[in-house]
């Protein structure tokens, strides 16, 4: 919140906040012992399932792991064009 307001005043985000963002992601993966291959596989399989219900571009899907307190959260950002029912009744 604080950072986004500050960013309105500056042209680009400060390198310290980029460092923090990058570290949080990589450390969460380190702690969970999750590697890039795992994330790519999850990305593909998730996209496969989602494609049954939504029309979207696979490349636009953003996935990341975050730590919130003592638990981990998988965040998937999927901008979709429209909803479609693959199995109409």
């Amino acid at each position: 919140m604080n950072i986004s307001i500050k960013q309105l005043f500056g042209r680009k985000p400060k390198s310290s906040s980029i460092a923090k963002q990058r570290l949080k992601l990589v450390i969460t993966q380190d702690r969970l012992d999750v590697d890039d291959r795992f994330m790519t596989r999850l990305h593909h399989e998730l996209a496969e399932v989602l494609a049954k219900y939504f029309e979207f571009s696979v490349n636009s899907v953003q996935m990341s792991l975050k730590q919130e307190g003592n638990s981990y959260v998988l965040v998937a950002d999927i901008p979709y064009k429209k909803f479609h029912d693959a199995n109409p009744r």
């Binding site: 307001i5 400060k14 390198s15 310290s16 460092a19 923090k20 570290l23 949080k24 450390i27």
Partner: protein, 264 residues
């Protein structure tokens, strides 16, 4: 019965040895009995950083090999009462020592010293295992950059797995100017990532270079920012409640933005 504290970091070059030398000296200046132990077998440096290199006769390896008594291997620092060094062997390597052997040395040392500070080598392998084997507590040293913090996180995981508690953080080479202009993560950022307690912040102090050149730890002169930071950390280790000062230098614009956003 004293405390055995391992000083470690994961990454090399972040200031473990400087921190061990200064905290050991500072604790002795505060009247505590201290032994600093170099656990970096094969790449010893604590002796030269402390200016004691010409007086090392025996090492921990000689004690393990029963070449000499433990008390005889301790090099007395003549500049301050109550401070001794146990040097590492330079001609051996890390596999020549067993974690149990280091543990036995530490438990003997803690019976007649208030503090046993063990300077760990970089890395997560045998050298780290040896250094942390006898430790009850840990000080993790990191600098505010991505590689040091990532490695610190890995080391914290290993220390937690080994049941070492508490694990406290020393944030070293902190630059108030760089934090002020957004080019360096501040203590809140680092603590948010690492999630351990902060023992202290040591500002970047070029005096460390000359003090290392001379073999005289910074804390012998009490004027520099680094020296004062190490003295505060040592006082906290003795149980005194010393607040951590806010070292961040805020620019004019940043102050205005903070003023407008402080309630959000």
């Amino acid at each position: 019965m004293g405390k055995v504290i391992v000083v470690t970091s994961g990454k090399g070059g972040v200031g473990k040895t400087t921190t061990t030398a200064n905290l050991g000296t500072a604790l002795a200046l505060l009247g505590k009995t201290v032994v600093v132990v170099d656990a970096d077998v094969g790449l010893r440096n604590l002796d030269i950083v402390m200016g004691l290199e010409s007086r090392v006769v025996y090492t921990s390896m000689d004690v393990i090999d029963k070449q000499c008594e433990l008390s005889k291997a301790l090099v007395k620092d003549r500049r301050v009462d109550g401070l001794t060094l146990l040097a590492a062997s330079q001609k051996n390597n890390k596999d020549d020592m067993q974690p149990e052997e280091m543990k036995a040395i530490c438990s003997k040392l803690q019976t007649d010293h208030d503090f046993v500070l063990v300077d760990s080598p970089a890395g997560i392998e045998r050298g780290f295992n040896n250094a942390s084997a006898g430790a009850e507590e840990a000080i993790v040293v990191t600098t505010p950059d991505v590689s040091a913090i990532r490695d610190a996180d890995r080391i914290i995981g290993l220390l937690q797995h080994a049941g070492i508690e508490p694990i406290n953080l020393v944030l070293n080479r902190f630059s108030p100017q760089l934090v002020g202009n957004g080019s360096m993560m501040d203590q809140a950022d680092v603590l948010d990532i690492l999630n351990i307690d902060l023992l202290g912040i040591v500002p970047e102090d070029l005096g460390v270079i000359t003090s290392t050149n001379r073999g005289i730890p910074l804390v012998y002169e009490d004027t520099s920012a680094g020296s004062q930071a190490y003295m505060r950390i040592a006082r906290r280790l003795t149980g005194q409640r010393i607040p951590i000062p806010d070292l961040e230098e805020k620019g004019f614009l940043s102050n205005i933005v903070n003023w407008f956003t402080r309630n959000r």
